[in-house]
Structure formats: C-alpha cells, structure tokens
Symmetry: C2
Subunit: 143 residues, 2 copies
C-alpha cells in the first residue's frame, strides 16, 4: 500500500480529475428514493455543469431540491463531491466547452436544462490508510 | 462503436460482474438527501450482501427505507441495479464468502449489520446504441 497522499496532493489529483474525466456517477433523491446515473460533465474551475432530459428523475430531483452527490473515478480511487445544483443559462463559453467534453450539445436539444453544481464538500481517498485525511474541501472552501 | 449486445449477452456479462467485482457504488436517500459511497459486496446468485457501520448514513437509510440503487463497472460499461434491502443474519457460508471477497469480516466487528439486497430492476448498457435494450431484469425476474 502506498503512503497516504498529502492533502495538497489530493487537491491536485482531484483538480486533474475534474479537468479531464468525462463522466461522473450522479446521485440524487426524491424523498427516500435514490437515483443514480452516469452523466458527462464540464468543470469550469469553480463548478460542475450537468445536463439531462428534464423529465428524467435526475433532472426532476435536481430541480426540486438541488442536492447532489457525485463521484469520479474508481471505487479504489475516489473523489466524492457533495454539492448544490441550480438550473442555469450557461455562458457561450460553457456551452461550447460542455459540448466538446460531453460529446453532445444540450443547447441544441429541446428540454435539456443545464445544472450548475457548486461543490460544498469534497473527499478524496484511495486505500484505507487515506480514509482519515480524506476531506479536502469543506463548506465550499478548499482546506 | 461495437454492435449492441443481445439481452442474453448482457445477462451473462452482468452475472460475471456480480460474481467478480469487488466494489459497487451504492446510492441511498433520506428525505431528498442522496448518499453515495463505494462498498464491497458479495453476490450469492440471487441477492447482494453489503455491510457498513450502522451509524453511517448508508446503513441508516437502508434500515429506514430499504431503497437502494447500485452500479458496477465504469460509466461507459454500466450495470445498474435497483433493489430492496433488509437487515439479515447471514448464513455461515455467506459470512465467509463475504469476508473473502470484501477483505474484512463484519461478523467480527461491533455494529456492522449485514444487508441483503434483492434486485428488482437491472439495466446494462455501454454506448448509446445499447440504451434502448438496456433492461435485463424487471420486477425481480430476468427478462
């Protein structure tokens, strides 16, 4: 097992993931019913952008309560993000960056809202020796 | 892009995943708040077994409402399972199989309940050409 990474290293690894990963696992909820789907996303340095058909449970949950948990990566190299989502009209820069990254352009489809997710909590860990120091963002601030 | 797999092939691939994957992404919910964690699991041919500390949100959600969504694999090779969980006292066979697979033995720890998850719905898909035929179990029955 490798030495546990420093918090600084985990923040660097996390930013790399945010900038390069294509998809995330996205969990939302409606009461006690969980929804979990893979979605492409775009990261603009401060927030993630998601888009899915407005009638899908994910979109309905995000619109109704804005609470979301996303994970990037593998189960043994976890980046877990807890955030608050809101429906937005994205800038042209975000529209084109999202389309390039996700491989589809919601701005050209009917009923595909964009959700902007502001991270509030981020945890990053690999093996059990990294569990203790896993928090790298709290209350929206990098630690 | 490969030809879309037949339903039979997806069922075979899914059973292989269930028999060999170590971890799953596990989504549960409490009053509109989603929880998403990676957990090790055991598959006994009919149900999945999970175990986590009883004070963790995942355990509390499973105990409170039993609703769970799990995914195995990657975001471009998805097995998605929707199931109902209940707290169980597992058989000795399940206890030792779980310990061998997960790398820890909840039966030797305090406050680590076992949850048995009965799948009700399973979907399997890779690229967009597999979205249409992705349902391979419905109402607990293989299609």
């Amino acid at each position: 097992m490798d030495e546990p990474r420093t918090r600084e290293q985990r923040q660097k690894d996390t930013l790399h993931r945010l900038e390069h990963a294509v998809d995330a696992w996205v969990a939302t909820a409606d009461g006690g019913v969980p929804c979990l789907v893979p979605l492409s996303f775009h990261w603009d340095g401060a927030a993630l952008y998601l888009s899915t058909l407005e009638t899908n449970p994910t979109a309905r949950n995000l619109t109704a309560n804005g609470r979301v948990r996303l994970t990037l990566g593998e189960t043994r190299d976890v980046v877990l993000i807890e955030g608050v989502a809101s429906v937005v009209e994205p800038s042209p820069e975000v529209v084109s960056a999202f389309a390039a990254r996700a491989g589809f352009d919601p701005s050209k489809l009917a009923r595909y809202p964009y959700f902007r997710v502001e991270p509030r909590l981020i945890q990053a860990w690999r093996e059990v020796n990294e569990i203790a120091g896993r928090e790298i963002m709290r209350d929206g601030e990098w630690i």
